[in-house]
Amino acid sequence: MASRGVHVFRLETRPEASEAMRYWSPAIAVALTLAGGMVIFAALGKNPVEGFRVFFVSPMRDLNGIAELLLKATPLMLIAVGLAVGFRANVWNIGAEGQFLMGAVGATGVALAFKGASAVVLLPSMIVAGAIGGALWAAIPAVLKTRFNANEILTSLMLVYIAQLGVSWLVFGPWKDPAGFNFPQTETFEDAALLPMLIEGTRLNLAFVVALAALAGGYVFMAKSFVGFKMRVAGESEAAARYAGFSTVAMVWIGMLVGGAAAGIAGMAEVAGPAGQLTDKLSSGYGFAAIIVAFVGRLNPIGIFFASLLMALLYIGGEQAQQYLSLPSSISKVFQGMLLFFLLGSDVLIQYRLRRVVRAHKVA
């Protein structure tokens, strides 16, 4: 009997996924993203080597460049470490972007309400208000999840758009700067409401130290604390968590609130840092980029530190590419997308292997 076959590829589970490869996978993804980037530069008619230099090397050419890089990485670090706490417990908070904005709203509210207060009082209150704003916004999906079993991926994402419209309403309406020529923005904050600079002559501010502290706190929480252990169990196996008596409801709450509070503090750092005021263009997608950062960093605070530096480089490199190579601004998003794509791709190939099989068609 003749057999004519179609060659197809099939994913086959590997008997044992390599533990070492799990940590190599982000490095492979970065290498592939760089290679893919070169191809894109070439396809756009640019010299790939020149493109690489502008995108990845020139942002770090001097102290100011490095300070800008760390400044950009700060909100990513903060948000990603907060999200990682929830992601480890399978709490999928996709709405950090909205929580970031609501944190900025909370901090702005304090800054506008207590003009004239000293920085020692004002800044801590703004941080707290930012954390509360983000956490409150994250509490909505948490309630919906724990009370009505509504999928937090959808609800947290939808709340992003509500938050964006809420910010727009504030800056077009009640909080609009009377002396701002009708631009959609609040008054610029007083000096006491701005985070002090770390390095003279750069824009790097105290928020970077806060982010490092958050990474350290996140590490202790995830690796050493009992609550962090419970969350890991809940993420690995729901039945085991229930058996051990770890409340899954509590896990959802902790995951959402920590993620929301961290994103809210990042929002505070943005209005009290480089922005200096609340505008309707405050976020540049940090909340979404931080999801990629969290996964490239393997949900591990140390990994997140490096992943956020990489992501910040993609942001700044993208701006440079606009300036010096006249590439469209979407180039940053293309690089982010490639990074996530290659990371997920290498993760799949670590779990599975490709096998070419012949699907036989029996010929009578």
Binding site: P15, K224, S225, E236, S237, Y243, G245
Partner: protein
């Protein structure tokens, strides 16, 4: 080592026949383990051939090779004189090989006839197929209504559907994988009649089991595996369970020491009119259950699976808290509404039926899995932070005392065999010195050596004054270790009877829901033990 024996009495009339199936030097290598190593096996037409071995001996791998689920690394399979390599189960079925799995592969929302149709090639006419099912079921004493939905069937009935599904394809070889683990003693006898009838008609049967008495009763010949190798061939009727056990585990069967229970201990666990409607539409509602377990005794609950055991365990452990407090009392505290953590504080420890994914987190180390339930009772938590060193030494102690074969406290739970992980989980719970221990299926899928060890440690705990509740489908096990036995059927619980005052037959009848005073239950006989018409 056993020797190859011919089987003159049992195999009368089959002498000189061409073997139906011959395996020569079958070897299967997985990346981390050699599952089969040079296995030879010959099955004649009409022979009931036992494949005997402990867990991990390589029985399942061998059957998967024969049924085309996986392929051997080396060696040859000869089917009726022709060398073959089954490509997949469909190919194996077309050769005439049928298999009834230990865990059933039926769609619950479809009817019996629809399930059977799915396994047949093409699109058979359902009316016609129903008549064929009825014919086969009448012929072999496997009563089942083709129009019923599978979710409404008992486990025993589901097994019948699987067998009928195989029989419709006129198999020449039927593989039965641990078929009696889900049946009442009466249903086991009925199954044996069916298998004998099939064999008499010339069908060969490969019967996989670790139950020595059953093999002795049913099988003509036996091949014993240990560690992936054949350690002997024998004629079960000429052996004793002791000699077969020696072939299987390489040493004598360990025996439990079981002294008389001390009477008059305080009540540690009380079910007081426990009723609970199951959340699962296919679950079993619990109805007015009453039970007392005293300090220093082991109470067993027998029953065919799916009669409410799962729901009862959830209600006791707190994984499915109740609406009221009083129905579950632990050491005098009404705990019905409490979460599992607070019940543990009241003195409860619990060994669940599923080890991986419930009793242990597969990807976590044994030390971390020790934290899972022992964190509070053993003081691994200080100011909210975990003392990993203490957890590691607890795990190491447990590994040592319970003879857990593993790579140490850092070994992932999933790297352990089922029996060793069960020993670890039992050890972890027992070492917390509970006031009440609840154990579900303590030795399910565990080899005989480990099983005896686990039973002994449960008995030792009882002797130390713990109140123990054991829920098991293995009647032999319950009779071996329990001081009193109750039966669960259709969500109701029988009175507990002293083990010395009852016997397997009586408990078997009770498992059909017919105990004195069971009342209106009699019309709702659970099907697992439904007596064939």
């Amino acid at each position: 080592m056993g020797e190859s024996v011919n089987t003159p009495e049992a195999m009368a009339g089959t002498e000189g026949k061409r073997p139906r199936l011959e395996l020569r030097g079958i070897r299967k290598v997985y990346p981390s383990v050699v599952a089969n190593d040079g296995i030879d096996l010959t099955v004649l037409p009409g022979e009931i051939h036992a494949v005997l071995g402990e867990n991990g001996a390589g029985k399942s791998t061998l059957m998967k090779i024969i049924y085309g689920v996986t392929r051997q690394t080396d060696g040859e399979m000869v089917w009726e004189g022709q060398p073959v390599t089954p490509e997949n189960p469909a190919h194996a079925r077309s050769l005439g090989i049928g298999m009834v799995f230990q865990h059933f592969s039926l769609f619950e929302t479809l009817t019996v006839v629809e399930n059977v149709a799915l396994a047949l090639p093409g699109a058979p006419d359902l009316g016609d197929l129903s008549r064929r099912i009825e014919k086969v079921s009448a012929k072999y004493g496997l009563p089942v209504d083709p129009r019923r939905l599978v979710h409404a069937l008992s486990v025993g009935e589901r097994q019948r559907v699987e067998i009928i599904r195989c029989l419709l394809q006129n198999p020449k070889l039927l593989i039965m994988d641990e078929p009696t683990s889900v049946l009442t003693p009466q249903a086991v006898r009925k199954l044996f009649e069916t298998l004998r009838q099939l064999a008499a008609e010339g069908c060969s049967i490969l019967y996989i089991s670790h139950k020595l008495d059953e093999i002795q009763e049913l099988c003509h010949t036996a091949t014993v595996l240990r560690g992936g190798k054949v350690t002997g061939h024998c004629v079960p009727s000429q052996e004793t369970p002791k000699t077969m056990a020696r072939l299987m585990i390489g040493k004598d069967l360990p025996v439990c020491e079981h002294s008389q229970a001390k009477e008059g201990g305080e009540i540690r666990l009380r079910l007081a009119g426990l009723s609970h409607a199951s959340d699962d539409p296919f679950g079993t509602d619990l109805k007015d259950m009453n039970l007392e377990v005293h300090s220093g005794e082991i109470v067993g609950i027998a029953g065919v699976s799916g009669n409410g055991q799962q729901e009862l365990l959830y209600a006791i452990s707190g994984e499915g808290p109740l609406a009221e407090k009083f129905p579950v009392q632990i050491c005098g505290t009404e705990t019905g509404r409490m979460m599992p953590g607070r019940r543990r504080k009241a003195g409860l420890c619990f060994v669940p039926e599923e080890r991986l994914g419930r009793g242990a987190v597969p990807s976590m180390s044994l030390a971390e899995n020790a934290i899972l339930t022992a964190a509070r009772t053993r003081g691994f938590v200080r100011k909210g932070l975990l003392d990993f060193a203490a957890a590691r030494s607890f795990a190491a102690d447990c590994i040592h005392r319970y003879n857990v074969k593993c790579g140490g406290p850092q070994a992932q739970a999933r790297s352990l065999s089922g029996g060793n992980l069960q020993k670890f989980i039992v050890g972890r719970e027992v070492m917390q010195e509970p006031k009440v221990l609840v154990v579900a299926q303590p030795t399910w899928g565990v080899d005989v050596g480990a099983a005896a060890f686990i039973r002994q440690s449960i008995i030792d705990l009882r002797n130390a004054g713990c109140a123990v509740l054991v829920i098991s489908e293995e009647l032999d096990e319950l009779f071996e270790i329990c001081d009193r036995i109750a039966v669960i059927a259709k969500g109701r619980l029988s009175p507990a009877k002293r083990t010395s005052d009852t016997n397997v037959e009586e408990i078997g009848v009770w498992m059909s829901g017919m105990w004195p005073g069971a009342g209106p239950l009699a019309d709702g006989v659970p099907g697992g033990s439904r007596v064939p018409a």
